[in-house]
Structures are given as C-alpha cells and as structure tokens.
Symmetry: C2
Subunit: 498 residues, 2 copies
Amino acid sequence: MLETWASSGVDLHLDRAGPRVRASLEGQLREAVRSGRLAPGLRLPSSRSLAADLGVARNTVVDAYGQLVAEGWLVARQGSVTRVAGRAPEAEATPAQTGAARRLRYDLRPGSPDVAAFPRSRWLAAARRALNSAPADAFGDAPDARGRPELHRALAGYLGRARGVRVSPDRIVVCSGFTQGLGLICQALRGRGATTLAIEAYGLPDLRGIAAGHGLRIRTLPVDQAGAVLDGPGAAGAPEPGPEPGAAGGLGAAGRLGGADAALLTPAHQFPLGGVLAPGRRTQALEWATRTGGLLIEDDYDGEFRYDRQPVGAMQALAPEHVIYAGTASKSLAPGLRLGWLVVPTHLVDEIAAAKALTDRYSSSFDQLTLAEFITSGAYDRQVRRARLAYRRRRDHLVAAIRQHVPQVRVTGVAAGLHALLELPAGVDEDEVIARAAARHDLALDGLRRYGPPPSTAAPGPNRPALVIGYATPPEHAFTGAVARLMAVLTDARRGQG
Amino acid sequence: MLETWASSGVDLHLDRAGPRVRASLEGQLREAVRSGRLAPGLRLPSSRSLAADLGVARNTVVDAYGQLVAEGWLVARQGSVTRVAGRAPEAEATPAQTGAARRLRYDLRPGSPDVAAFPRSRWLAAARRALNSAPADAFGDAPDARGRPELHRALAGYLGRARGVRVSPDRIVVCSGFTQGLGLICQALRGRGATTLAIEAYGLPDLRGIAAGHGLRIRTLPVDQAGAVLDGPGAAGAPEPGPEPGAAGGLGAAGRLGGADAALLTPAHQFPLGGVLAPGRRTQALEWATRTGGLLIEDDYDGEFRYDRQPVGAMQALAPEHVIYAGTASKSLAPGLRLGWLVVPTHLVDEIAAAKALTDRYSSSFDQLTLAEFITSGAYDRQVRRARLAYRRRRDHLVAAIRQHVPQVRVTGVAAGLHALLELPAGVDEDEVIARAAARHDLALDGLRRYGPPPSTAAPGPNRPALVIGYATPPEHAFTGAVARLMAVLTDARRGQG
C-alpha cells in the first residue's frame, strides 16, 4: 500500500530564483526520501505537472529527477515514470561517544617533549622558505618512497655529526615516526621469511602489537640497568655462560638471540629502565648479527639528550650492514609531526622502500621539506641545545627534590633523555599511587608495570614498584608544581598511605 | 700477528685547543679503527703516554677511550689496558644507484593535479593561522588515531555540502591518502575474518597489491562505460541474468559480488575508463551490501570535478552503515600532502581507528590543522572552483584538438575529473605509441593496459588500445605544447607509423 505524492505531505518550497532552484529542489526531494516521507516505490508527479505546480521550467524538474536517479534516490522506468527507489535509505547511526578520560591539570607521564616550547615561528619560517623555494614537482607524486632528497641530505649530515651514524642519503627512508618504521621493518622481514623478533622485556607495549600484527613471534629479552641481557639460555634452552653484564669484550654467542631473526634494542638509553647497553653487550649483539645474518634495530629515540657526558654514539656505525638505525623528531621537536627516519643496510633499502610505498606511498612532502630546511638552517641544532639545557635542569630539580623529600625513592638510569625511573619502596602499590595522584593531586602518572612484559612472559625484570616519570612533558610554568605534587604523592606513600 | 701502535702509522693531529680536542681525538681513533689502520686486538698506548705524546690532559685521553669503549670500537680489559675491539667493523656498502628514468619535458600521465598551481601562499597563510592558534597539546601525542577534531569538523561540513555525504565528525578517520586508507580498511576487514575483496578490473595497480598484502583474495569485476558490472556469474559460477547495464531499478542479486566481503568501486568517475556507475548498478550494489552485510568502499578520488553537469552525489548517503566513503586532497590540492579521509560506518570506526593507531598512530597534526583552517576559511572551495575551471578548459581544448587532428581517436568517459580515455584505432600498438612519444616528442604517456587486470584474470575489458591522458598534470604554460605533441604522436599513429 503505497501512499501517493498528494498524500505524502511533502511540500516543496522554491523561494529562490536562479541557478539554485534546481539544487534546492533536489535537496528537498533527497531529504523527503531520506526521511521516509516519500516511501519506496511512490510514483512522483510527471516533470511537466510538478514544474507547473512549482512555477519553474520543466527542464529544472527533469534535471533534478535525473540527478536523483543517478544518485540512486529515484528510479526512472519506461520513459517518463519516476518513482522513489525500491529500498529505503537506511537511518544513519551515530557512533557511541567515546568516554574520554578526564584531563588532569598536571602530567608527568613519559613519551612527549614539552610541546608548549615547540618553536612555532621558527618552524613556520622554515616552512615558508622551504615551500617557496621548492620545485613544483615536490608537491606532486614523489617518485621515491624513501622520501625527499632534501631531507635525506640534511639528515645524513646531521646523523653523522650528532650521532656518529654511518649514513649516505640514499639509505635513509623517511617514515611517520618509529611506529610506522617498525611496521615497515617487520613487513620487509616477513617478506624474507623471518619469523621471530627479539624485544626488550620492558618497552612501549605498542611495539609488541605491531610486530605481532605483522605475523612475527616475539622473543622477550630480560633487561637490567645495563640494557638488554643477551647471554643466557637461548631458544633451544641450552644455558650458555657469558661474560658478566657490563664486562667488556665478551664475544659470547648471545644465546638469548639464538633463533631470532632480528632484535629491537634501545642501546643509548633503555626505555623505560634508563640504562645504557653495556659495551660487552653491544659487542655480543654485533657479533651475533654478523655471525648469523641477524638484523639489529637500534631505536635511538632520545639519543640527543644526555646530561652527564657526551652521548654514546650509534651502534649502527660498527656494522651498518647489520643494523637499522631509527631516529625520530617526536622527542626533539614534537610527536605531532609524525616524522621519523630509518638508516637501512644497503641490502634492505629496496624492501623497506617497497613496504613504505604500499603503506602510504611516502610521507608528507610538505613536512619533509620543512624539516630539511629546519635542519639545514641550524634551527634544529639550536632547538636540541635549548631543550637539552631545559630538560637537564628539570632532571636536576626532580632528583634534588626526591633526595630532600623522599630519600627512600631511588632514581635509577643514566642522566639522559626525557624520563627517569623512580623505584618505590617495596610493598608500595603502583596502581594505588597512580590513582591517588589523579584523585587527590590532579596529577597524571605512569607506573613501570604498564611497560613491562605481558604476564605470560617469564622474563625477569625489576621486582620493585616504580614510576616512569616524563619530566619533559609539562609546560615550563607547570613543571615545579607538578614535581611538588609528585613529592606530596610520594610522601603519602612513604607514610604508608599508598 | 698484530701490528703495534707504533707500526700502525696512525698519526693523530690535535691542532685545536679547547673542548673540541677530545671529540677530535675520538673521531680520529674511530676512523682509524673503521678503516682498519688500527687492527682488531691492537693494544693502544696507555692514556698517560698518549696524553704526553699529544700534549693534552690525561683525562682527555681517558674520556676518549671510555667513549669508544662504550661505543664498541675499543675494549678495556684488566684496568688500564685498552685494545681495538675484537671484530673489525665492517666496510660500509653503498646502495646501487637506482637508474632513474630520464625525465621528459612534457607529461600527460594521469594521477596528479597541476601542482605548479598549488596555492603556496594561501596554504602558508593557513598554516600560520592554524599553528599560531592551536593549543600546545595539538603538537603532542594526539589521543585520537582518527585525527584532529578541527579537521573532522571542517571535513564534515565540506563533505555534506559538496558531495552529499552523510557524515558526523566522529566517524571520520584521517589517513595518509587512499593508499593508506585502503590498507586500514583491509586490516579491519581481515580482523573480522573477511577473505575476499572485489575490485574493478581497471584501476590503480597498487590497490590490488595492498589488498593482497593484507591477505585478501581479489575478485575482479568487469567494467564498461557504465562502471563496474555487478550482475552476471558469481563466484559459484552460477550465471544469473541481470538487467542491462544502465537500466534503472535492477534489484538483481549482484551475482558477481556473491561471496565477496567487500567491493571497491569508483562510482562517480570510474578510473580509468571514465564512466559513472549506472543508477541500476548503484542500486544493485547497495542492495547487495544491505542484504549480505557486505561493505562497499566508495573511492571518490575526483568527485569535485565534473564539467558537464552537477557531480553525482556520494553513494554513501544512501547507506551510510554499509559504505565507506573515501576522499582525498591528492587531486584537489596536491598528492604531496598525503592527506585523505574515510567516512566510516559506525560499527567499523573503532576497528579502522585501531588499525590507524598500529600503522602510524595518527597523521601529522600540523598538516591536519592547516587543512582544517584552509577548508574553514573558504580557501579550499575557492581552490576547487579555480581548478575546476582550469581543467574544464583543458579538457575542452584536448577534445577539440582531437576532433580536428585525429578524429579517428575516440574520447570516452564523462566530462569529469583530471583524465580522459583516448581510444586508439584498432591495431595501433599502445607501447609503441608511448615509446615514440618519449623518444621523438619528449612526452610521457600512459597506456590503458597498465591499469588493466593482470593477464591471468579473464575479466573482459575494452578490446582497443587506448591512452589514459592526465590533462591536469602539466603546468599551465606547458599544457598546449603537450597537447600539440600528443597530436603529433597520434597523427603518426594514424599514418600507420605506430
């Protein structure tokens, strides 16, 4: 039982003359079908009669009907008879509102630099220079998935100078941060038949998910204050005595890497425990890689930031054909840029570039050109120096406050990067400290457990509760307030309230 | 037989005083180890004696040795004895220079807008306004993989107004172009157990690779001048008679989609054949999706550009819970931006966002904020209008030139988008035409076969040789010259020289 046009109650208003009449007519008809007021199958008036009713040219109605037929709202049968399409367009659902967590006033969680100090005007000036001088084809389809040559040259100079990386521009692949970089590496590894990636027991949880998502099995490496532990029982279960952690020159078989195809390490500054990979372990890792053809992935996420001495140079320089060096602008500038870079062994460049091409073709030329200009002009070095000074002061302030107020809390890890590990007295409940900081002190904190191995993994780690404090996260004006609140939280914990 | 320090011939020069002495010493030692002049195992002079030789403080040498031990170049054993590390750092290989094809002066290949007309100063002005007014946390780790809320709001307004998309900001996922967008969709589909994606027989070759790379089987849909052919024998081989192409209201079972989990279509302007999906086929597709729970992917890559009439509105509006609408800035602005967007059915938003988070967390906040401001300020609409006028003139010029000079060449497809299909007389060899255009006329062309189905696929397609002409590609000043050269190429072909 179809209703008729006359009984549908649809009342068209075309009160604007001129070229918009047709669009208005279409819009009203579309809405009438969408809302169900014009039911499926309903026969519309002929174009002649509707045009007469509305006082418009017949062609306006013909064109509007034609448009709606093309879009699927109406169907035209046997010449001039036009009906509402047979199936009712469905109602539009709305996604459930995601319940965003309440935003706390103070934030000492790790992972971000002080983005309030991002050099907006210097960045915009670099963007202006870069875009105005770029050849037009820089905005077109870049032929090279590895990225823009301007950025390759700028990064090659910077990485060689600042991090001792052995790099030529043609072995750099620009990617959207290390998250994507690891995904590209996993794709290339899988393409070569790799099955197993060794990962440090403590680290960013997402990295495990990325590797697993690409079909790789995870081997978990224990970590201590000297970085990843590489000797010890391998996959085959054969215990293999190795040199002591930190002992130099141990050329052991890196037993825990046995059977792995690749290993992801944070040699300059383990995240989140904060150690530097001991020289003997670097040697073990490199010896394993060169002997077995395994691949080392050196995640140098904050290598520019060392406060007590010169940063340890990149491990990649010792074996550039066995190490992928991975760097990022997420800590030195801002995570929102989504810019990272891989320095890739020659034999892997094509495969990583192919993975990039299939993932998103290449990274934004605009951001790449701007970063290239930012580096070449010297602004990047200046920004890193400024940030290094600011974060060093913040770390000193944090360490001094802890010594003074809660000496039973141990700050471990080297003086480097954007985070510190605070080991809490045994028996304190991490989660309760975090909950109390949020509820009573308006302060967001992260515990170590969040970065630990999945419960099913038996890899040993620190046995004490701990906080991973991102002292670079707050804006400058909020930093001392955040530390004061942290002291209040920790003092409470000491008093047995935690 | 190790040589000694004295016989190694390494001659250290430290001619700069001050803080750089140590860095210089380290650099020279590193290079000496790297080059092999200091052999593995070689014992270095004691720090005391080297310091005396060089006339520097002993601590400078101690620190330099310590640094190189930490980096793995040297090893320190039994207190003060320092040796070159046991394994020689490997030589650095250099990637083979990729033999880039000679760049031709004129380019009529499809895929790019006129990037020389990219509105650099308006874009930079939008970037300045956007970055200066953004909250600092816009540069930090965005909590939402879907993208920036500013861009969601701007796109929701634009897409509803310009393309009739039914959209709320919270169902938009910003991605790095459609290449990434399709990858995200494939990941979400695979996560739901999908196995098969139907793809138009003619299209971008990369899209098949992306779907296959995510483990999906490809079902090939024939295409003709009315878009994808959906009725006909399905996967089970059961022939199923359907309405004629272009016939309205055919509610057939869309037999060719039988057993597919999703179908990727270019309804507004088939790429590269240039047809508009016929109303009856739209209905078939939607009917199939709602009946079977299949997913339609509407690739609206150039929907803003129609020259003979109002663009056909998005198919998504008829069934927003069964269609993913995909748009991009690659044609309207520049591919180098790497910005696209998906409007996603409610039930898929979380899964697409999760795939995005694991792929690269989120897209550059800087570019997102700039595009949001560019749209909101009206600059995007103005740019689209300018480009539409320019490309329409170019298409008219191309069509007129062909009518005049090579009337035997047929221009097919609707007057829309950035490309036209030129069907060549039967017997002309596509590849030879392309080779001759490059060799004799300095003109880059693409043939239809490049976009066709793989040879193993039996899907029928156009039987004639054809060129896919991207008339938007050249800069304005080179356009008429490019067309003149194309006429020369085609005139040669007519004379039987092709």
